[in-house]
């Protein structure tokens, strides 16, 4: 396999991380909705924590994207 092809394969593999982050972000919002529907009164107070969790899960997907971009363009 020459270098160009290996780069493309590597960038594609890095995209798996983006999919995994999708699982994580979905889990954050899913769990929030599940418990918010059980106790709607407490939901508004937890919105800050919701977005902290979302930011933490999303960052890892974005890192995977950065890795892919670095492999492709740098």
């Amino acid at each position: 396999m020459d270098l160009e092809a290996a780069k493309m394969v590597g960038a594609g593999l890095a995209a798996i991380g983006a999919g995994m982050a999708a699982l994580g972000v979905g889990n954050v919002f899913g769990s929030f909705l599940e418990s918010a529907l059980r106790n709607p009164g407490a939901a508004d107070g937890q919105q800050g924590r919701l977005f902290i969790g979302f930011a933490a899960a999303e960052l890892l997907g974005l890192l995977a994207f950065v890795v892919a971009m670095i492999i492709l363009f740098v």
Partner: protein, 263 residues
Amino acid sequence: MAGEAETAKVDPMYQFTVEPLLGESWNIAGYNIAYTNSALWMTITAVVLFIFMLGGMKRELVPGRWQMTVETFTGFIEDMLDANIGEAGRKYVPYIFSLFMFILFANLLGLLPVGLFGIHPFTFTSHFTVTGVLAIMSFSIVLIVGFWKHGLHFFSLFVPHGTPLPMIPILFPIELISFLVRPFSLALRLFVAMMAGHVLLKVLSGFVINGWNAGVGFGFLVGIPSFVLMIGISALEILVAGIQAYVFALLASLYINDAENLH
């Protein structure tokens, strides 16, 4: 992306090119300070933000619609700082508010469909230099406030309360690294989120253009669904623009909370 001739027609990375607008030879001490399209859109953002705030600062007893909008935003940031930092958070309202509004307006202005009139909107928050400076500013406030207020006691931030003594040499470097990585993660999140969204939109627009160029059949099969998807993604990008501005302000306030209250 490189290689085939058809895919090279729409270059999704071209939108991020920084170009000097008023001549390239503005130099100070060997550094080029040319007025670029990035600087132009920062100016536009600042002017729009200034006008927006000016319209809401009439201080009427019965607020009109405009003043109500501005007060909603200020109240939102005040509530966030109250919840995260407490009473001491009041003095950070101007900084966090400016940060939030600047990023929000920059993100939204970069999404404007002014390309229809031949003007190219430029999202300067999709550049690491810009978000990096914003993150460094926030992180400097954390460091300055932390050391000013607590002195060397600030280092107790890296040793959580009640840690057993043998765990301290292991825990300290981990906490230190997670602390030092914060400005990078803060800047990286905003920059990549904005860049990824804009690249996605341009890739889809490439599908539309190349699909119709390949023939009517491809146009209906690929072009139309891609265009519908583009409209949906544009709506999602407006949401992301808001969420990223909020997350940036939220995390900045959380980090300031660490400096103010030390756990």
